[in-house]
Amino acid sequence: MITGNRKPLTQIFEMIKFYERILIVGCGTCVTVCMSGGLKEAEETAAAIRLQRQQEGRPVRVAARVVERQCEPEFLESLDAELENYEVVLSLACGIGVQCYNLWRPNKLTLPGLDTVGAGYPVKQGLWYEACLSCGDCMLAHTGGICPIARCAKSLQNGPCGGSVKGKCEVTKVTTVPEGHDCAWQLIYDRLTALGKLELLDEVRPPKNWSKAHHGGPRKLEREDMQIG
């Protein structure tokens, strides 16, 4: 799923300071599941905005809504009727949702209320790790199903760097993850050992073709046979 964090409230307040009628729209799929941009978070944000405006003594009308997926225009229709009553939309969807809202409802400005973090998975209830960078050229077959592109800070393809200490990545000292990230190559080594397939590591992998990733420009996916009209 796509994960994200709600933007700091001060940043949100700064973005919406000129508006008095704000519609907060959550997204009912990925960010609901990672508990950062669903209806509940939209309601929390709405309550926080109202409290802040109460403190400032400025009027505000905020409503919290959710649509199933903001990246599909058909789902946006359910809010069209009340959209006219608001000056601006604060979307708690991922970056895709915000762009789609702007694209399909061009008369309204849609502001981002969420910082998209990446494609991840729940390690346990309430904890998500990033696991895929969408590089466009999957190499999981060679690494025992653990992605060094997403889970190694340097995206190294041929073994760890010198910063792997006791199975932890040195970069995590400066990031926000308190318990530290596991070194992806340590995980790969352990996994391949357990599978008895360490010989996979003997093969030296040539430099990756990054043009298939975002570095080749925005990618597009096309199925001509599925296109209508």
Binding site: T29, M35, G38, K40, E44, A81, N85, Q125
Partner: protein, 559 residues
């Protein structure tokens, strides 16, 4: 004899219906100012008509622009309304259903009772009904339903309770329904006897001193004599005793507590006294039950709206023999009552489960499971109703449906906060409802009731962050959550919630800090049974601290 079912065609006067399902004329709040049809109205009816409903009865449409009920109502009060209504009728007919228009008049909307009305207004109203019916047929509707039920003028006139008039429009049941007869005869005189005309009336008002079957049997027979082609038998929705959401109101829109079709018996009874077809309504969303009503001849047709809001393809799925695909209406009535904004049109508020599996992971009894079809299921039989899943559900889909209209903050906390005399400093104490925490006498005695509202809940751990924020929005400066020591209550039903109090308080404080709302604070304390006896002392300290530190924020450690 041929077996009659939901999908057996029926002919009423000149109206040929392909099945016996009617979309109830429920108010959709979608009209433009002036009572004109909007695109939303068209879509709303088109979708359900296209799904195979036999007769789409368009909602309460007012015959008068002044005597009108609140909300964005459609009107048929002038000829200007005809083009919009014509496009609505056309849309419904193109989608394959017959179109009907329910016409109504409301003095309740302007706060009047029948005895306040001069006779002139009643005579005008009768003419307005006749003209309304004419406009409806001119717009191309196949049938007109006269709204003689619920809380509108015609029902007020009909009611034994509210019609206290001393002239010929009051008195016994024949006098009370004189206006109704004049409307019907007037329409028949103007438009002839072959236009299909339905009448909707409450067979039992469910109010003290209101009409019951004893009176409404006569009403039904009289309506038939005047030339009504079909009787739409409803119930209740009188606000005289219980008001909105009172008993009578809910009989008209039976909620989750009611069995399937609680009002079918009324239609069944009326049907014995008349020869015209009878429609029944009220919680008929269970397709098996709905079919049984028609098959057993308890009513000739069924009408529903809420199941069609929950799933606009209800009819299509039932007809295809795939009732398991229906998105079930839980009869929570949120579509009718919980409009988030006064101008929002009617829609089902039930949301889709995001399948995040939070409930499955967090249930202390490990009841939710993924069944062999890959669908998330709740093992309801074993549920202890601790409410953990509903509190954690991020999509707010899992809920306990016993009283779906209940909003804890608005219904319980807000009145208590409003009662507080102090405007400078107000605090809310949320504590456990049991044992030593029951100490409000002491609160009163020690003069805390001036500043502090004491709210007892099954467990403070059940209060969600957003609820805390909403309490602060009421103008409250601080919330003190007093929870028990779990070691002392190992058997408590809500023991699994207890640790959540501190997490939720932490999150509320994170949000407050982020928003730089440091003058408000939410504090949580854990008390042993003995300490709980001194809750009022602790509260005093909390209030004092709030007073001193109104700008500082809640950093005070009570333990």
């Amino acid at each position: 004899m041929e077996k009659v079912g939901l999908f057996t065609p029926i002919i009423i006067n000149k109206l040929e219906l392909k099945n016996r399902i009617m979309m109830s004329p429920a108010f959709s709040n979608s009209a433009a100012p002036g009572g004109f049809v909007t695109d939303w109205t068209l879509r709303h009816y088109q979708k359900r008509a296209a799904a195979g409903v036999g007769l789409v009865m368009v909602e309460h449409t007012s015959v008068n622009g002044y005597y009108i009920h609140g909300g964005n109502r459609l009107q048929v009060s002038t000829d200007k309304h005809i083009p919009g209504l014509a496009s609505l009728a056309r849309t419904i007919q193109h989608a394959g259903a017959k179109a009907g228009l329910q016409i109504a008049h409301s003095i309740h909307g302007v706060g009047l009772k029948p005895d306040d009305l001069p006779k002139r207004v009643i005579l005008e109203m009768i003419q307005e009904f006749i003209q309304g019916a004419r406009r409806a047929f001119e717009a191309g509707f196949d049938v007109v339903e006269l709204h003689f039920a619920h809380t509108y003028t015609m029902a007020d006139l009909l009611s034994r309770r509210t019609n206290r008039r001393l002239d010929e429009y009051g008195g016994d049941i024949y006098g009370r329904m004189r206006a109704h007869k004049e409307v019907i005869l007037g329409i028949r005189e103007l438009l002839g006897s072959d236009v299909p005309l339905f009448a909707c009336f409450s067979a039992d008002e469910f109010i003290i001193g209101g009409n019951t079957l004893k009176q409404t049997r006569i009403v039904a027979q009289e309506l038939e004599k005047c030339g009504i082609d079909c009787l739409d038998v409803t119930a209740g929705v009188r606000f005289d005793d219980g008001g909105l959401k009172g008993y009578s109101d809910l009989r008209g829109k039976p909620t989750v507590e009611y069995p399937d079709g609680p009002n079918v018996y009324l239609a069944e009874d009326i049907k014995k006294y008349v020869s015209v077809p009878v429609i029944t309504r009220g919680k008929l969303g269970n397709p098996d039950f709905a079919a049984s009503v028609v098959e057993q001849g308890r009513a000739d047709m069924i009408a529903m709206i809420r199941p069609m809001l929950a799933d606009d393809k209800w009819v299509k799925k039932v007809k295809a023999g795939r009732p398991e695909l229906i998105k079930t209406c839980v009869a929570c009535n949120n579509c009718l009552y919980k409009r988030r904004h006064p101008d929002d049109p009617i829609k089902c508020m039930e949301r889709e489960c995001a399948k995040c599996l939070t409930c499955l992971r967090s249930c202390p009894y490990h009841l939710p499971f993924i069944n062999d079809q890959g669908i998330l299921e709740f093992g309801n039989d074993w549920c202890d109703e601790c409410g953990m899943c509903s509190g954690l559900c991020p999509a707010q889909v899992v809920r306990f449906q016993t009283n779906p209209q209940y909003d804890w903050v608005l219904d319980q906390v807000a009145p208590a906060v409003r009662k507080l005399k102090s405007k400078e400093l107000r605090a809310v104490i949320i504590n456990c409802a049991s044992g030593p925490f029951r100490c409000d006498d002491k609160f009163m005695a020690e003069g805390l009731a001036h500043n502090v509202a004491l709210i007892r809940v099954p467990c403070p751990g059940k209060i969600e962050t957003v609820q805390m924020l909403r309490i602060l929005e009421l103008g409250v400066d601080g919330i003190l959550m007093a929870r028990c020591t779990i070691a002392e209550n190992p058997e408590c039903k809500y023991r699994h919630h207890q640790p959540w109090a501190s997490r939720r308080v932490r999150r509320a404080n994170e949000i407050l800090n982020e928003a730089q709302l440091n003058h408000k604070s939410v504090i949580e304390i854990e008390l042993t049974g003995l300490q709980a006896l001194d809750l009022s002392g602790l509260t005093r300290e909390f209030v004092h601290r709030l007073q001193v530190n109104k700008g500082e924020g809640g950093t005070y450690d009570y333990r």
